[in-house]
Amino acid sequence: MTRGGPSTGSGASPARVARLLLGCTGVCVMVAAAWSVGTGGALTAPGSLVKWLVGPVLVHDLVIAPTACAVAAAAHRLLPQPTRVVVQAGLGVAAVLALVGLPLLLAPGSSNPTVLPRDYPRGLAAALALVLGVTVLTAFVVEVNRRAARRRRNG
């Protein structure tokens, strides 16, 4: 954990003092900000704000990360290196694009026609097709090279 954390030990080296100051500053800033949020009334709506503070963390920890782990593990079982890393990177980039694009697909839209003026499903599909296409192509080339190299070694 945090051996030698800001408040343990008795040595007072400049580095330790600096760390202690940094940590205390951080705590003070956090407390002040939390106070502003808590007393902000309708402006900060603390109940709603806390939901939006914790919600994304839960979505990440319980949905996004386990899914990514499962996909990474499947790639680990099915693919040899260095093909695997190409596929993992491609899937990762595609997933991030999908995540950024998702709100555009779910947004209720606006009476203002200059907000969200594009065909987002089509744009996202095109971006994903491009990333996945490049990934498959690269993985294919890398895999062919890997097999050729192995044959050369064995032959």
Binding site: M1, L20, L22, G23, V54, G92, V96, V100, G101
Partner: protein, 389 residues
């Protein structure tokens, strides 16, 4: 005497150590501190850009102690706010990468030994929560989507400070780990580990590049066609310019189209001008951007009467400030303050035309304010009144 923070706590029994809590569940060398430190450094830089540009934007809109902001460089706000949103979008892959690297620590065993461990875990929850909040709320704001009860600018601003505090605390707590991972005397690592880290970092770089290319065209015009995930197109809108708030949303259609409209100018010698009278005054043109807090921006060729000419007309003293009031009855941006540098700037116009045609109703017909180096929300549309202060 024992520090209360080091009080031991009873950890759960080892029989409950299942699933991802098992030893060796996460095997990839990517989960090591060096990757966490390298990704953390990039993430910290991106967040710092967001903080600086965000605080800048806040103070431009809420000047502390009546401090007058400069009206030049013309494109300054456009650049800082474009950077704010672009860096914020880059934070998404960086934050996901950072969380991916440290995800196994969520399942560290035992989950806590002392009060200190519990406190550290809570502070990390605040850190991740505040970072996610800023990214999610900021992204949805660029879509003008508000599925929450708080007022976005206030909440986004306060949580930014919460995040700053949490980052400072995190740096203090993790300093030895960071120093060991990034410092000159870091331990040698197996070639395989270095290779897998480099590959991971290339993937993260690719993701940052991809989301940037897919969105930055909302402010960098030449990349507009590539910006398939941008909530705005700088060239789409009436007269080739996007609109942030429509006349219908602002409930000004009738008042703005009223043929009896006059611009009231309050000052030592008050005046009330019809559209014809405004057009009869010397007309000037300026190419100025609409640069929105939502991160899109687009340039337009505006023309109309210089604000400073109108101020002279009503006998305003040199260095006067002006309040621009819209026909809107309510709303946070129905009026704006034009500080002295902006009021005196020859580029600041009461615009009547855009791209050589009379202003479209959605762009503020009959007259709007347009000034250099100023957020879009302060470029008051559908002017009713100018008050010399």
């Amino acid at each position: 005497m024992r520090n209360p923070i080091d009080l031991p706590l009873t950890p759960p029994p080892d029989t409950s150590r299942v699933g991802p809590f098992r030893e060796g569940f996460f095997r990839s060398p990517v989960h090591r501190p060096r990757t966490a430190a390298v990704v953390g450094r990039a993430l910290g830089l991106a967040l710092l850009v967001c903080l600086v540009t965000g605080v800048f934007s806040h103070f431009v809109q809420h000047p502390p102690g009546g401090q007058a902001w400069p009206s030049r460089p013309v494109q300054l706000y456009r650049v800082t706010q474009g950077l704010h949103v672009a860096a914020g979008i880059a934070v998404i892959p960086l934050l996901l990468a950072k969380l991916w690297v440290v995800y196994p620590r969520l399942f560290g065993w035992p989950p806590f030994r002392t009060v200190r461990d519990v406190a550290e875990r809570l502070s990390v929850l605040v850190l991740i929560g505040a970072a996610s909040f800023e990214v999610v709320s900021g992204l949805l704001n660029t879509l003008q989507w508000y599925p929450w009860a708080f007022f976005f600018p206030a909440a986004h601003y306060e949580v930014a400070w919460l995040l700053l505090g949490a980052v400072l605390l995190h740096l203090a707590v993790k300093w030895p780990v960071i120093a060991a991972a990034l410092g000159r005397h870091r331990a040698a690592e197996p070639r395989e580990d270095a290779l897998s880290r480099r590959r991971f970092l290339w993937g993260v770089t690719g993701a940052v590049g991809a989301v940037t290319v897919a969105t930055v065209g909302q402010t960098v015009a030449p990349l507009e066609r590539l910006a398939v995930l941008a909530p705005r197109r700088p060239s789409v809108g009436p007269q080739g310019l996007p609109v942030n708030r429509t006349s219908r949303q602002a409930h000004v259609e009738r008042a703005a189209l009223d043929p009896g409209w006059r611009l009231e100018v309050r000052g030592p010698r008050p005046a009330s001008l019809t559209l014809e009278e405004l057009r009869a005054l010397p007309q000037h043109a300026a190419t100025l951007p609409i640069a929105c807090v939502e991160g899109w921006s687009a340039s337009g060729r505006w023309s109309g009467v210089r604000l400073r000419d109108l101020l002279e007309l009503v006998g305003a003293p040199a260095g006067a400030e002006v309040r621009a009031v819209s026909l809107e009855r309510e709303g946070n941006y129905r009026e704006s303050l034009v500080q002295r540098h902006h009021a005196a700037d020859p580029l600041t116009l009461v615009a009547l035309d855009l791209e050589g045609e009379p202003l479209h109703l959605e762009h503020g017909f009959p007259a709007r304010l347009i000034a250099p180096n100023r957020p879009g929300v302060l470029q008051t549309k559908w002017l009713a009144r100018l008050e010399v202060l």
